[in-house]
């Protein structure tokens, strides 16, 4: 179900053509998906205040309607473990084109997956699951299905990945929580069915999959022009 608040996020982002990370995360959080604790800090004091509250280290990311791929402008900083580091990073980010604040969030780790969606001309909304992170377009280890998904589809998507053993607990690592991963994909798929006329594509990259959670680490929604 798409609530009024969620609709407002899509409408407000219309002028940029896409929904930036903090708003996209709020959107998916409202839909019932697991997201990290985060704060959109427009001032340095807010950033430091948030970190003091949730504890160091935190992750910082630039917020700018002109920056779609943050890594490419060095707009992601991990391991910020002191007020001084937050300050340095905040100052550096403020020089980036279109700076609209800094996103701070709790530090997460886990297996990095990508979950995405696209509206295909011939088949309508499709959902993607694969190995995520910055190398996603190099490894191209992904599975695609027409939405809406059933649980069976999610399981066969996982099975079809070359890296599936990493999800199943490779070399002594704990397996990822399959129930949480399935739930995330099913919620995402039904959400996509609700909003596909307004969207072009969605990237949730990475989604951190751990033994207990499947958390949306980054999110962006490209809207239909």
């Amino acid at each position: 179900m798409v609530s009024q608040e969620m609709k407002r996020i899509l409408v407000d982002a219309g002028k940029h053509g896409w929904v930036m990370e903090p708003e996209a995360k709020r959107f998916f959080s409202l839909a019932g998906m697991d997201t990290p604790r985060f704060c959109w800090a427009r001032k340095l004091e807010e950033a430091i205040g948030f970190a003091e509250k949730i504890g160091y280290p935190v992750v910082g990311k630039v917020i700018s309607p002109r920056v779609v791929h943050k890594t490419e402008v060095k707009g992601v900083a991990v391991g910020l473990d002191s007020p001084r580091k937050i300050e340095e990073t905040f100052l550096r980010f403020s020089g980036i084109d279109g700076f609209a604040g800094m996103l701070l969030e709790e530090t997460l780790s886990g297996l990095e997956l990508i979950v995405g969606a696209r509206v295909d001309f011939q088949f309508g909304p499709v959902v993607l699951l694969g190995m995520g992170g910055t190398g996603v377009e190099i490894y191209k280890d992904v599975a695609l299905r027409m939405a809406p998904l059933e649980e069976r589809d999610v399981k066969s998507m996982v099975q079809s990945l070359k890296a599936r053993r990493l999800l199943e607990g490779y070399r002594g690592k704990e397996p990822v929580h399959m129930g949480e991963l399935v739930r995330l994909l099913l919620v995402f798929s039904s959400l996509v069915m609700d909003i596909f006329p307004r969207m072009e594509s969605i990237d949730l990259n990475p989604v951190f999959a751990t033994a207990s959670r499947a958390v949306v680490g980054d999110a962006r929604i490209m809207l239909k022009s």
Binding site: R118, D120, F123, G130, V136, E137
Partner: protein, 455 residues
């Protein structure tokens, strides 16, 4: 819309038969149906007169019988007028051979046909197509009979956007012994599209397998097509052209870049249990295998061979196509060993592949195949039959077919296709077991059984 009169017509009107040009497509169609098909055929040309000693009717409305199917082969600008005539005369449907519509930018002209047909609930195929080959009733492919080879009657319906590809497949079907129920070229697919033909052939008692050559679907049309195909109990095979996109699209998200048009196409087909043929060779293999078997397999292959090299190649091909050749337990090997004649027990290997060696005789293959057919470890047999082995006779195809009839486990055979071995090959074919001309094709056949899934 009722398509049956188009595919099983009793009467055919050919509109546009020329009184002066023997090579006109309408004349080719008139002649081949008049001489070789069961349908009763009438020539139509506004000038009237006589053709081949038969009366030419100035308009379809003057044909003395109710027309089931009309072929329209006149200049594009005159087609709406001709179609209007067909509708008023109560014809059952039309094949519009004429080109000169959307494919040359005249979308309005094509749209006028569509709206006319929808209003009158009048089915038509084309325009810009070669139409329908539905033996023994009718054949609108405007290729002179002496220039075409025609497959044996059978159970595969073939639907192609391109007429040339359709004819090419007919030739290959003939060469591989794949039987055909009906072939249709849908050209610009203005009104009747893939999904309409899918729905028709799903109901057609003469068709067991439905194969498509698709260039592309319209907006959201692919979704409707796969959903309909998933509901169809008959296997649906799709060969897609245009897998590569010309030039690069500007994409702003990883998903848009990774989920390209063809990647989505291929993934969605497999999600819904349609069989994607990645090239023409897979298309033919899939048509042949799926017209023999309807039961999906998981792909646990037992490879039975008289040559170790063939066995090893087959196992490689199975694994590279995502199927398994599970190793057999010691106990199973021991039991299998007891099935074959004493003289090969010491030299044959009973793992997977099962290599009975060049000393094996027919009985050994039959006994081993029967044993393997009864085991749950395997769900399909791959038989690599080398007809040049001294102990193998031309009876073996028929004898192994009998094992299939009794045990019910699918078998795919490889036999080199040369004249000398034709009796062995026919032993399989006459009993409706698929026979490939290479190991790779045999494995393709098995893979198509695995790709066909129904939930």
């Amino acid at each position: 819309m009722n398509l049956k009169p188009m595919f099983k017509p009793r009467t055919l009107a050919v509109i546009g038969v020329s009184l002066s040009n023997e090579r006109h497509p309408a004349n080719v169609i008139y002649n081949k149906n008049n001489l070789r098909q069961q349908v009763e055929v009438f020539a139509v040309n506004e000038k009237g007169g006589f053709y081949q000693g038969e009366k030419v009717y100035p308009r379809i409305s003057e044909v003395p019988e109710k027309v089931d199917l009309a072929v329209i082969a006149t200049r594009a600008e005159t087609v709406p007028d001709m179609m209007g005539d067909c509708i008023r005369a109560g014809a059952g449907g039309a094949v519009v051979i004429s080109g000169g519509f959307a494919e040359v930018g005249k979308k309005d002209l094509q749209d006028s046909l569509i709206s006319m047909a929808i209003k009158a609930d009048f089915p038509f195929i084309g325009p810009n197509c070669i139409g329908i080959y539905s033996p023994p009733s009718v054949d609108t492919l405007f290729i002179p009979s002496e220039r075409i080879v025609k497959p044996e009657p059978g159970k595969v319906a073939l639907v192609s956007q391109s007429g040339g590809i359709l004819v090419d497949h007919l030739i290959r079907f003939w060469g591989e012994g794949v039987g055909l129920s009906t072939a249709v070229s849908i050209g610009n697919k203005a009104l009747l599209r893939e999904i309409d033909l899918l729905n028709y052939f799903a109901q057609d008692p003469g068709t067991e397998v439905i194969a498509f050559y698709v260039e592309g679907f319209g907006e959201n049309e692919g979704r409707k097509f796969v959903l309909a195909a998933a509901r169809c109990p008959k296997p649906v095979i799709v060969l897609k052209s245009g897998k590569t996109t010309g030039g690069s699209r500007a994409v702003s998200s990883h998903t848009a870049s990774l989920a390209g048009d063809y990647e989505v196409f291929s993934a969605v087909l497999s999600q819904y249990g349609l069989v994607e043929a990645r090239d023409e060779s897979e298309m033919i293999s899939a048509c042949e295998a799926l017209s023999c078997y309807r039961k999906p397999i998981e792909g646990r292959m037992a490879v039975l061979t008289g040559s170790g090299g063939h066995g090893a190649q087959a196992v490689d091909a199975c694994l590279s196509r995502g199927m398994a050749a599970p190793p057999f337990s010691d106990k199973m090997r021991e039991e299998l060993g007891k099935q074959v004649s004493e003289k090969i027990q010491g030299i044959a290997s009973f793992g997977n592949p099962v290599d009975l060696t060049g000393s094996a005789v027919d009985d050994d293959f039959v006994q081993a195949a029967r044993f393997l057919s009864r085991r749950d470890e395997v769900d399909c047999l791959l038989l690599l039959l080398l007809p040049y082995l001294p102990g193998v006779t031309s009876d073996l195809g028929a004898r192994l077919s009998m094992v299939y009839r009794q045990e019910g486990k699918p078998m795919v055979a490889y036999v080199p296709h040369v004249e000398k071995y034709s009796m062995l090959i026919e032993g399989f074919q006459l009993n409706r077991l698929p026979v490939a001309r290479s190991i790779e094709e045999a494995v393709q056949m098995a893979e198509s059984l695995r790709r066909f899934q129904r939930w």
